[in-house]
Each structure stands twice: as C-alpha cells, then as structure tokens.
Amino acid sequence: MSEILTPRERFGLLVIDEVPDRVPLFPLLTSYAATYSGVPLRDYYTTGETMARCQLQAREFLQTDFISIFSEVGILAEALGSEFIYPEDDLPILSRPRWRTLQEASDHLQKCSNPDPSSAIRHFPGQTRFRVYLKAIDYAYEAIGDRVPILAYIPAPFTTAQQLVEPEAFLLGLLDSPELILQLLKYTTEAAISFSRLVIRAGALPILVDPLASGSVLSPEQYQQFALPSEKMVIDYWHRYDLDVVLHICGDTTGIISLMPATGADLVSVDKIDLEQALTAVGEQVRLIGNFDTSDLWLATPAVIEEQVEKMVLSGKGCPRGYVAATGCEVPLATPRENLMAFVRAVKRAGGYDYPKH
C-alpha cells in the first residue's frame, strides 16, 4: 500500500521537530546494494552510474527512506595519496599509506608552504574515486532526488588521518606524539571540508562517518582530544549551509555517547550501545538513529528479527527529538533478503505515528 509521505517529506518533518507519518527507515544499505543487484563490488565502487543504479534498485526493493552513496571510508585518504587495491569481490583495501610515520607526515606538511588539501584533491581526481561518488550522487539525484534524500558519507578527519599513516605508528602517536596527530588532523579536516563542498554542490546531504573513532579504538578522553574537535569543525562548516547533520560512529560508543552532541550533530547514529541508554544520555539534545545489530540481521531468522526490531522501534520512538530506525552499521553483504524485508516490515508496522489520513 502506498504511503502518504515520500521519504523526503518524512525526513523534512523530522528535522523541523514535527511528527511524520512514521519513523524514517534507514538500514545502512551501502555496498550491500551491489550484492542485491548482483554486481561485482569493484564495479560498484569504481563506476558512479553503477553505484547509483544499485542503490536505486535496492531502495526500490525495500522502500527505504534514504539513498546511501558510499563504499568505504578510504576515499579521502586515497585522494590524499594513500594507495588502495581494488579486489573484484571486496571493498578497496589500503595497501600503502601515504606516510610511514607521523614525523614523515609532519615534515611533508611543514615543507609545503600551503598544504592545501583542496589542491591535492584537484591534483588527484583522475586517480581517485571522487568522480565515482559525484557521478553516483548526480545520477541518483536526477533520478529520485525530489522524493528521496541522497546521503553521501564523508569519512571524518580522524578516520582519514588513520589511513594516511601506518596504523601502528598512528596509534602509538596518540600516546606519544599528540601534536603530530593534531597537525595531521588539521590537514584531514580541511580535506573533508573541501570534499564535502563538492558533494553539497552535487545535491547530496553529507553525513559524517567516523568508524575509527569508536570506543573500541579510542578512550573517551582521546575522543575528546582528537576526534571530536575535528568532527565539530566539519559539522560547523556544514551548518553554514543549514544542513541537518548526521554523525555516525560505529562500534561501542557507550563511553562517548554523552560527548557526541558537543560536535553539533543534529542526528546521532549509534551502533553497539543500549538504545535506552543512548536515549537517556542524549535524547533531549539530538535525534537518534539506530541501532539494530547487524550480526543479528545477517544470522537471525526473519521472525526473530521482526520481534527485535519492533522492540527497538518502540523504544526509539520515545526519543523526544525524534528517531530514525536504522541498523547499527552497514548491512552485511551476505544478509539474506528475507531478513532485510523482515526489518522493513517491522519498522513500518511499529513505527507509525498518529498522522492524518487525508
């Protein structure tokens, strides 16, 4: 049965503190869209039109409320000089970070009189997947942009920084060379802003994803010292455009959930955290997005999924600022279709609000 509101109308009401017909539906259908369409992953993330078509097909099938332009978080690091390999049936894999050590990165950035990442971005476009992203956004926007918000995932500065330097060196640097980390973060923050401007012009709503800033990697103190300030700078920039900003951090965010609103995010997307706990911590300040366990989505039966999702939605609807029913992280590639359909059914059944029929 057709619904009274389009996804865009539904989201539009949510972000101006009005109650829509039901909670928006947002399983993080990223690279899964390729699996759904039977397209090799490499084609998905190297061809903009393919990425968009897969997204459109998956959305058509599931009738979700957003299009997700995304493959993985390496896109910005790659544009800034890290090297990735492109397996046919897997997502890009970081093969060589731009710098081996933080000191090398620092020396390079100091040597450049103006280490402007936007010029780096301009320098690299032939070799990066920026064009893929922008083409995908444009294609999806022209196809369905009047009815469905197009979301483009932008890797946060902290996550990008980790992919520019050898991981071990970066993690040790958090402890013994914080000033070098901050210097690198300044660079990646500018890069994220430059990239997001292209995305904004193309018609997509940028959302900030910072998987490597999760509680599984950083302590709350480290999050506050390194990741949060750079997230805030990007979000502040997006607020110049009056955009409703989503911040997504995967993994366990229990320790940092109360810090996340300080980034300025309007909607906070969470993964492995008790939803009630998140709601109590930040529900008065931000809209919550989350957080069905993606392992369950992959491995549980449809009946179990429906039951659990209903419970989650009823809990999420208690969020005073509004709620979006989502998966905690990206939908696993091997997720059975019937499981996703169970997720969608349950959200639509349990997510309704009292809304005029006509």
Partner: protein
Amino acid sequence: MSYQDPQPARITFEQWDELFARIPDELIDRFHYFPPNSFSWSKYLFPPQTFAIYGARHLRRLKFDNSLASLRLWGFVNNESERLFRARQMGKRVIAVMGDLGPLAVIVNSFPDCIPFYPDCWWWTPFAMESKVLLDAAASLGIGEATCFSRAALGAFAKHSYFPDPDLILAATGASCDDYSGVESLVAKLTGRVKWVETPLRLSGQNEQLIRFLVAEYHRVVSALEDLTGTRLTGTMLKDGIRRANRVRHLTSRLRQLAYQHGVLPALETMMVEFGCLHYYSDITEWTAILEHLLSTAEFRLKNGLLVLNPESLRIAWLTPPADPLLLCFVEDHNARLVATEYVINQALSIIDESLPGLAGIARTTLAGSLNGTSAQRAELLITQARTNQAEGVIVSGILGGSHCAMESKLIAQHIKQRHNIPILEFDVAPPAKEVDRQTRTRIEAFLEVLRSRRCQKS
C-alpha cells in the same frame, strides 16, 4: 564584518556556492525570520545549494542575481514551509487564504500573531522540485492533468507536510481562477472546514454596490478571525495592517520601476518580489526588511551605473506568471529583459487608500485589481506599462490545463493586437521538467529574432 557585493551579474548555482564561501559567519547569523526572535533555527541566509539538497532541484539550473539582498530573498522564500511550521510551534495562528490573491491576507495580518499564507503559491513547488509528487497527490483526490498547476495546493493539503493544518481556511470564489475554485471545493471536501468568501466581478456602473457587498463579505471574515483569536479587530489594528501592507506595496512598486526601467534586478528576483505582496512569504516584518535591502541595492546600482542586465537588450512585456521560473532565465540568457508584467496580482500591488474606512479601502483595491476585471482590462494594464517602458514584444504564457487560459490568452492577444502594434508570442507552459521544452525554446528564440530584426529596421 566586511562584505561587499561583487560587480552585479546573473550567476549560476555553482557560482553562488563560490560566493557564499566568502560570506562571513556573522552575516549568516544576523538574519532571522520572525524578528525580534533569534532562534538558531530561524536563520535563513543560505545559498541555493541548501535548498537543492532538500529537493529544490530546479535551483541547479536557474541563474540568480549575485547581491547579498537577493541571497536573502532566496533564502527567505525557499524556507517558507519551515517558517509556517515554526509559526505554529511558536503559538501563532496559521491562516490559509485562497483564491483572491492578495486582499484577504491584509485583513488576516491585521490580527496579532496571525500568519496568512496562500496555498495557491504551492503551484511553484512541482517546478522548483521538478516533481510530480504534489500533482499526483492531487490526481489521487480527483483533479488531474486537465487542471491548472495550482492543483498542487490540494496535494499539499492532503499531505500535511508542506504547511501545518491551518487554524482557518478562507477561500475566495467568484471572480477567481475557475480551476482554482475547483481546487478550493476539493479542499473544502477534504478538510470539511472552509469559510467561503465571494469576490465579485467588476461591473461598470455598479462599483459602489459591489464595494458594499465585498465589505459585508470582509466583515464575515473579520468575525471568523475574531472568533478564532478571541481578539476584536479595532479600526486602529486594521489601519495598521493596511499601512504595513502599503509599505510592502510601495517598496515593490519602486523595485519594479527600477528593475523594469533600468535593468538593475533580473526578472526572476523581481517576480519573487511581486509575489511577496500576496502574503509577504508568511512574515511581513522580515519581508519588509528584505525589500528595503533590495531597494537600497537597486538604488546603489542605478546611482553607480551598475546594471545587471544589458540596457540594450530587447524589452519584453510578460502576461500571466510563467509557472516555470526557468523561462524567465531563458529569455534573459537570450539578451532580452522584462520591462512590464501583469501576473494577475495587481490587486496585491496597488496601494490601498488609507483615507477610506479600512475594509472599504481594501474592497476598492480588490475590485480595481486584475483578478476581478475582464481580459481586456488585464490587457490594458499591461499595455499601459508596456508603452511607458517601450516594450518591443509581448509574451503571453498560459497554463497547460488552465481552463481560463485557453480562452483568455486569445482574448488578451487579440486586444493587444488591436490596440498596440506590437508582436505577441503565446504559448502554454509545459509541465515540470529540468529544461525548457524544445518547442517553447524554439518559439521564444524565433520571437526574439523577429523583435531584433524589427529593431534593426526601425534604426
């Protein structure tokens, strides 16, 4: 805070983004709707990119004036939907006024904390979004392609997501658009709570009688608003409402004059200015401030010889608003400019006589307006302006499916041909699309060629 307008120009969507990057944060923070409130959500100085991201796809293809005042105008116009919801959240009464294009809003606006808006204006939405969503919603309620694009208003009512459910719906019928009267009837059926107001056709020799009739109708409107708000409308309140409406109309009149006589503002922005006289984009105080800003920009440009349009470009008069704003850009891209317009909203542009009793003053202006007169009278309104500003051609755009357009466009064209030796182009505006359709494009181009060769012959 330093920001100076660049050399006047019509710029693209991408160019506005470049320009916006130079606008200081303090300036973005300065402008709020519903002043003197300054909530974080009431800012509106945002570029076309913001609204494109939220679905206004047409913005990517338009050309805009590059002044700060125009950016302010666009930001304000584009967030009207949000503003109406916020008005409700702030405890204001939101009143839908329909069909009379201007006068009822003056009365509503005289009541404290009452916000009038014309759902009629949602006819722009399918074009702004390049979308059939609202038109499909209207079709599902029984009004399809054989009707004017104003049917989008019905779709908007049905969805409850473009404006809050109004506290009161006032619908004018009689001397109004035929199709829109049909839309109003369906809104009445949908909502079950429309208060009808009859607006009569102007008839020679019966003016005083008709004014008395219209004043009686307006008294019913006042009573409905008094019942709703619990506030009695005093003469002073009404006078103040009229004075504020007249302020908007004076500013608009001067801006039209500067734009059409001197080319200091493009046609698109000038059209948005004209339509602001209908209901002030739901916030008369801020809209007035925006008009003042635009006027100071226009006067500065004129004083310094900074024109945005080529003064030598072809001079065009345009009759009936082109539902698709891209058409105005298209004409200007082809080195022509508008020097006269008759958008059927003359009753919202004319100054209300403040020496008369309030409702009588409004009624008199209403009856003299373009909506309440004959086709010939509309043609005369345009001819007067066209002569003053030496228009070289007239474009009459009809609305596809608009029942009155099929007949009226012909009558108007005939009248203009008989009275004024000037070439005329007539066409119907096509349904929402991302570009001007090929046939219309060719016809406009050919028409402009004709005007160019006529000019050469004369010279």
